[in-house]
């Protein structure tokens, strides 16, 4: 059997090199692309993202990434969003009082984390969802987070059938990971989370066929 094929969507956001190399380390064949057709046809698609929600969404739309995400999910093709690439999968984001519409693959608005010490930066534990494929064997691990915004509507997402893994910062609980049908996302950076992150990416890649 040939190695699974993963495409990383390059829409002008962030450090793609680490994502590319961390995915290669799982044994996948990895390619960066700005081409929506290539992103649509890939076995697995990774949507990275750093910086502001609005800027990421604008960059994503410019390469047709919002349509790619929607169509891939309709066709059951696996997609993994990372950090702001995870946030833009939700209905909307509010940063500095400005609301930006997201890809609306999940309900919920990305809002500021309710904590004094922001950004939430560093290695935190998670409470992994029961039955999670992504977090299989990783319940006790820490992952690298760096963000000030997050999704708080954990119960609503669960009611909609999503497997939701949470993290907590100064008592505020938010989505750390979410999995539903072909779509998955992590608020933290698995490509920056050492051995635990590598194992999580391997879990995701191993489900590609």
């Amino acid at each position: 059997m040939s190695a699974p094929e993963v495409v990383v969507l390059d829409y002008g956001s962030g450090n793609l090199r680490s994502a590319e190399r961390a995915l290669e380390a799982t044994g996948a064949r990895v390619e960066l692309t700005t081409d929506p057709e290539r992103a649509l046809s890939a076995q697995g698609l990774v949507v990275p993202g750093v910086g502001a929600f609005a800027a990421c969404m604008e960059g994503l739309r410019a390469v047709g990434g919002d349509r790619v995400v929607r169509e891939r999910r309709e066709r059951g093709r696996p997609t993994l969003g990372i950090c702001v690439g995870a946030q833009i999968l939700f209905a909307a984001g509010i940063e500095h009082g400005e609301r930006t519409e997201g890809c609306a693959q999940w309900p919920g608005v990305v809002e500021q984390v309710r904590a004094r010490r922001l950004p939430h930066m560093g290695w935190n534990t998670v409470r992994s969802a029961e039955g999670s494929r992504l977090f299989s064997g990783l319940a006790e691990e820490r992952f690298y987070f760096v963000h000030s915004y997050g999704v708080h509507t954990v119960e609503e997402l669960r009611a909609g059938g999503a497997l939701v893994t949470t993290a907590e910062h100064e008592g505020d609980v938010f989505v750390a990971g979410i999995e539903q049908d072909a779509l998955s996302a992590t608020q933290f950076h698995p490509e920056k989370s050492g051995a635990a992150g590598a194992a999580l990416l391997a879990n995701w890649v191993s489900a590609l066929d």
Partner: protein
């Protein structure tokens, strides 16, 4: 559940080589930054910081290659500082594989560059590196220096940190120029003074000599602790520092 105290080794890099005090026994080439960063990654470092002290364009280009090679080998966050003066510099570092950029003199000379960088890349990308020392002429008692502590920048360190956060930096790297190289411990009063004024994560640097020094820096308010020579010379391991932090009740990340 809470975020772990980060333990960060710092490598001084000049034209692609680690230049200050490296005496790692099990490395083939103690001057190779990629090899050293990889070794620290395997030893459980929570981040690695490269401080680029190259003066030339070519030297900085080489450092970017080092960052790129490291980012392909060690999957933990990489911060790069040295010579950052514009959003373009940060862009080049991020493209090379850095996750965060540290700015120092570039922000002192032109504070508005902080907002230019963070508007484009987000505030999590920018660390304000503050080289400070005790200075009775400043209101807080701590003044900012440049040129490795040799020149007085004429700024109050606490006020400068507060202003940096207001302008958008996502983190402060506080280097005590008095404590640096002494191995007598971090400047705890300085850490407390900055901590009481800013809410972003604070990395304490300068003066580490024993594991207990790291514990007291965290108890003074540091979210992360950075050191160079104690790690490079093998005086302390990352794991020993984490053991001491854990024994004192602070959360740490185990494994690599």
């Amino acid at each position: 559940m809470s975020v772990a105290v980060r333990v960060i080794p710092c490598l001084d890099v000049h034209a692609g080589r680690v230049v200050k005090g490296v005496n790692f026994t099990d490395l083939r080439d103690a001057g190779d930054p990629v090899e050293l960063a990889t070794a620290y990654g395997a030893a459980g470092a929570d981040e690695v910081t490269f401080l680029d002290i190259s003066a030339s364009f070519e030297g900085r280009e080489t450092t970017r290659e080092v960052v790129g090679e490291t980012a392909g080998t060690v999957f933990i966050p990489l911060t790069v500082g040295g010579g950052v003066t514009s959003a373009g510099d940060v862009d080049a570092l991020l493209r090379a594989g850095a996750d965060k950029a540290a700015i120092n003199t570039g922000a002192i000379n032109r504070p508005e560059v902080i907002a230019e960088i963070t508007h484009r890349f987000g505030n999590q990308v920018l660390v304000l590196s503050v080289d400070a020392r005790r200075d009775p002429d400043q209101p807080s008692g701590f003044g900012v220096t440049t040129h490795g502590g040799r020149k007085d920048a004429g700024l109050d360190a606490v006020e400068w940190a507060r202003r940096g956060v207001e302008l958008g930096v996502g983190e402060i790297l506080l280097n005590s120029m008095d404590a640096d190289g002494t191995t007598n411990g971090f400047d705890l009063e300085m850490i407390r003074a900055i901590r009481s004024e800013v809410d972003v994560p604070l990395i304490a640097s300068g003066g580490a000599g024993t594991v207990q020094h790291f514990v007291t820096a965290v108890e003074a308010g540091a979210d992360a602790v950075l050191a160079a020579s104690v790690f490079h010379y093998g005086t302390l391991t990352i794991e020993q520092v984490k053991d001491a932090l854990a024994a004192a009740g602070h959360p740490v990340r185990r494994g690599s």
